[in-house]
Symmetry: C2
Subunit: 426 residues, 2 copies
């Protein structure tokens, strides 16, 4: 389903030189013996998700779709990036679906918060709050404000029906509150970290609410689980991508630039930044992850990529087919000189932009390019792609000799902030 094209990485990477190390790490992942192994729950998750769980998510999603104008998804980091990525990628940026979805609880900005609360004041809305502990500060503040607003608007009883909680199975503030109030809840498994959680209810419930087919998405992930579940580099595209990244990093590249040719895929770049940046960026190591939308950003970052400091390589996530295509019309007068494109489709032009840019960056700019080739974007391919990247990320973090599943550096700013805010420890 995904082909990792390494023809343009301008280097003499030999797969076989990595094979032994990859085999060892593959065993480490499967036998759960490496650092962070207690967070490997995502690995066989696709084949463990039950139909009952998916049916329940779909049932609650139908309630949301039938009864509300807006769903507010309240979460930060891994608790919103996966869902937002899938919903934008599959519904587009100007969706005509009747349910609007707003992401909230990911910022302390009073201006953003003020605007969202003002907007929701006139809307009939439901909430999906997502937090393992229930005390993540951004999300907890936002949820307190939302709950207040909702209870004032429609009363405590109706508000109860409109709140859906995704949290730990047994402990934490949100679990406690849910039991007390009788909120409908989904479980965020304790052996899966935020950035690996898109295929749990963290991602799947909002995605189902958006009117998308989560069963297909899981089928794609099951397919990926089997496809990448062996150590042979010749046939494992996820591992092939992992060693190409490692090789380029070891040979002097310090930035990986994720390239997307569809504006609706921009959030995938954000999801990838978290996945790779938080997994690999430790012990003073790791590729700095950045992302662009082409051809848009060829008119901003294109100059630097082509001809600036040679510190980066590109990873292009390329879908061959568009979901909807548009023909370029013929015009008698042709003042804009575009008639050479008349009756071509925009996706044909976008493909030539991709090929032309690849040629320019690789052969003129000497920028290594990895191309991930896919056919059509849909629930199934996106589920497959999510899993592919998580598998790659585990392998390439272990290649770097770092724990792919912790994030000790994220705690530092929190401690400093809590001190300044006068929060008591404990």
């Amino acid at each position: 389903m995904i082909r990792v094209n390494l023809e343009n990485i301008i280097s003499d990477l030999s797969l076989s030189s990595y094979q032994k190390k990859v085999k060892l790490i593959d065993q480490q992942i499967k036998k759960k013996t490496g650092p962070g192994h207690e967070f490997l729950g995502w690995h066989d998750l696709p084949i463990k998700i039950s139909n009952e769980d998916l049916d329940l998510m779909n049932e609650y999603a139908q309630k949301v779709r039938a009864n509300y104008e807006v769903l507010v998804v309240c979460g930060i980091g891994g608790s919103y990036l996966g869902a937002r990525t899938a919903i934008e990628a599959l519904r587009g940026l100007k969706s005509n679906d009747p349910l609007e979805i707003i992401f909230f609880g990911q910022t302390f900005s009073s201006d953003y918060t003020f605007e969202i609360l003002r907007y929701l004041g006139n809307k009939n809305f439901a909430i999906n709050v997502i937090s393992k502990s229930g005390t993540t500060t951004e999300t907890a503040i936002a949820f307190r404000l939302l709950k207040n607003l909702l209870e004032k608007k429609i009363g405590k009883e109706k508000a109860r029906q409109a709140i859906f909680v995704t949290t730990d199975a047994t402990s934490g503030a949100l679990k406690k509150l849910s039991l007390k109030e009788g909120y409908r809840t989904f479980v965020l498994p304790s052996d899966i970290g935020g950035r690996y959680s898109v295929l749990t209810p963290v991602g799947l419930f909002p995605i189902a609410c958006a009117g998308l087919n989560i069963k297909e998405m899981v089928l794609g992930a099951i397919d990926a689980f089997h496809t990448y579940n062996h150590p042979s580099l010749e046939n494992n595209e996820a591992y092939k991508y992992a060693i190409a990244r490692d090789y380029l990093y070891q040979n002097g590249k310090s930035v990986e630039l994720f390239v997307l040719y569809e504006p609706k895929l921009l959030m995938l770049g954000e999801w990838l930044k978290q996945l790779f940046g938080e997994s690999e960026g430790k012990m003073k190591k790791g590729l700095f992850p950045a992302s662009v939308s082409f051809s848009t950003d060829l008119h901003s970052l294109g100059q630097f990529i082509q001809d600036g400091t040679p510190l980066l390589f590109e990873t292009i996530i390329h879908f061959e087919n568009a979901n909807n295509d548009v023909s370029i019309p013929f015009e008698e007068e042709n003042l804009d000189g575009l008639n050479y494109l008349a009756n071509k489709t925009l996706n044909e032009v976008n493909t030539k932009a991709f090929l032309g840019t690849l040629d320019a960056h690789v052969n003129v700019g000497q920028v290594p390019n990895i191309v991930l080739e896919l056919e059509t974007l849909n629930e199934k391919t996106l589920g497959h792609l999510f899993y592919f990247f998580m598998k790659t990320c585990a392998m390439s973090s272990y290649l770097l000799d770092v724990n792919p599943f912790n994030q000790p550096g994220v705690e530092v700013y929190k401690e400093k902030m809590f001190e300044l805010l006068g929060k008591k420890k404990g």
Copy 2:
């Protein structure tokens, strides 16, 4: 109006060691003797903009606001980034202004194009097409499609009234078409490049349409022109920022990460990426520009910044005051443990997040931080800020010994693409 705080750059930068070089470059800019001097039109633009020009923009903007539901701004690169930055920053991301503004003509994506055309099919819309030549491919295709749709919907005569063109004063396809059709036009001065054009009608007309005060914005830029119009590093914050960037680059940093604490300022990060990336990223030199929104992205890139490869420094653009503030409510039960924040405002919390993160990144992570301190975001401060950055960028590009005003690398992909599309040369 802007204070450049260099207390956290973890280095022994001495202003005086740069003073001589800065003085020479300052002369080069003022006397227009450096490379690319033919594109220095932006430099004294603020004091040259006439009230008549601003009045005309406001007059046409009133027509747009009075007669249409949507304004489609059709442009790419510098022909949309400045306007979009200002409109989002000043109206917010969930504006309740009656005029919706859509940015288009910046992509070949057929999916995005399909969605926008579907959406506009039911809307009463006007167009502002922005292109110096009129043959920029993305923009020209989008405009052909929009014009077609509009003429079919409301007829050629009414469409004529709904189209506003920003283009060259005398030549090019759009100028020709405008003369023929009688479109209302604004001039894109030939001595100002795209990324320096936000204070020309390229930026100002859409900003006026958004209901914002462009006279205030120009006043802010005039203020900036005078404030930064002398070479003394002690008192020139734009130059001070330029040499700090240069110093960090020369001492091993290769990525500048622009940090914003307001989601509505995210596009400012995109504008800055173009400004600096396209100005400096040439001859295998330059800082790679990236941007984040905190605290949101502390939950994605925070780990890497705190503890990953030490290749970056941060530039924080910090506004002290929020435009709208929100109080955190008290809750009797306090299950979420947030009562220690009760009756504090979100902007107080956001400020502590900023200070705590600064401490964590600088003192624990050893990441140099430049802080640009501002008071309140409004038309005037934003106009000032735009000019400040352009002045910094000219100085720091010349410090790098590159031409700040060309972009030869952007042409390479275009040539390759045109070949693949079978476009005839000439």
